[in-house]
Symmetry: none
Subunit: 127 residues, 4 copies
């Protein structure tokens, strides 16, 4: 089951997109296997303190992307194989790295300073 303990909402991006991203990252982390359940709309909305509709919207999009599968009355579950997981992981990792590099270059920060900063802050961020 995907954990949402480390979900940190930010208000510059729509919540439903943040939820999608969180779930994809959980999948990339290998925390889920094919057939795993996802939290129910009700329980997740209660946990995150958001509206059930918002969670519903996230799940609906993930369903359209073929990542989760719902059937009426039953729990929703993840439908994904190892290949897809690797793909998602590579995609998210690459995007994040590119965004970081782009930001650094806009600020004229050298590769060395960027890597050193990341390295020094690494332990400070809780898992």
């Amino acid at each position: 089951m995907i954990s949402f303990d480390d979900f940190i909402p930010n208000d510059t991006s729509p919540i439903y997109l943040q939820i999608i991203l969180h779930i994809k990252r959980g999948i990339a982390a290998g925390n889920v296997v094919d057939g795993d359940e996802v939290p129910s709309r009700r329980s997740l909305s209660a946990l995150l303190g958001v509206n059930p509709n918002t969670v519903q919207k996230s799940y609906h999009i993930l369903e359209e992307e073929g990542i989760i599968f719902s059937s009426p009355g039953a729990k929703s579950c993840v439908t994904i194989d190892q290949q897809k997981i690797a793909l998602i992981r590579a995609q998210l990792l690459g995007d994040q790295a590119k965004e970081m590099i782009h930001a650094m270059k806009q600020m004229r920060i050298s590769k060395e300073e960027a890597l050193a900063t990341l390295s020094s802050l690494w332990e400070d961020i809780p898992s």
Copy 2:
């Protein structure tokens, strides 16, 4: 004059925030000195393909933060000293690094793999 050639819009964050971030990164890069002009609302909005009002909102917030100065009929300009620049740079660098680390940890990606990915992609991203 601050350049917007390398401005890459993304649609998950409000445009006016992206503009603010771009300008702050330009300041952090040392591309701007005290008294420098910023592009007019109209010219920048035409360049970015957005509404002048969106640029206006960005500039208004930057003005409230004491980073730019405007007066009716005249060009707006940057009002900033070296200390503020250093502060903005440290803030942006730290925030970006923390976001990267948070994403990596959510995906259970090790420090080594993260740094290696950044390193290998560094040259691919144009300045």
Copy 3:
């Protein structure tokens, strides 16, 4: 519920200010009591033929003045006591009278003619 049947838009003053004025006059008239609902942004904008955003602006200002109270998803309502009502009434009455007198004096119209004109037209204006 406050009525907008007798709302007459004029195009020399911003609509959002006219809406604010109309609501304050309704309060001064005693048509509204503490806890009364105000029309929703959408319904009022449809009724007046303006954009919901324009109504939103009016309500936002009234909220800053402590006259109405809003919370997401719920209906907005009036928060006002008898003292505030008397204050608003006195303010609006005084302002209106002063503006009338100022206009009369600019046109060199005597007090007698002004009062006589008001008196003779009084019945012609529908409530």
Copy 4:
């Protein structure tokens, strides 16, 4: 010559409309006769502390309404007869009275209180 000593700008209506109204009221007051000069663009803009373009806009509209007449190089002057003056006066007086009555009725203020308020404040407003 029309006086602008008692011109009191308010920021809820465009300045060029306020200037037009002021001139019309001056005409209604009988302060001008046919052929009278109006202040030059430059002098009036300096007096009111506004931009010459704004005064120009007011004069242009008055010209289209046939109230003032300009010819290149010469001073602009009022072209109006006694009949027109009476018409303008009646119009402005009626409009002002109607607006006052409408406001009073919206606030459920009686004719007696309205007249009494006007009467009591009359001397307080400077000519």
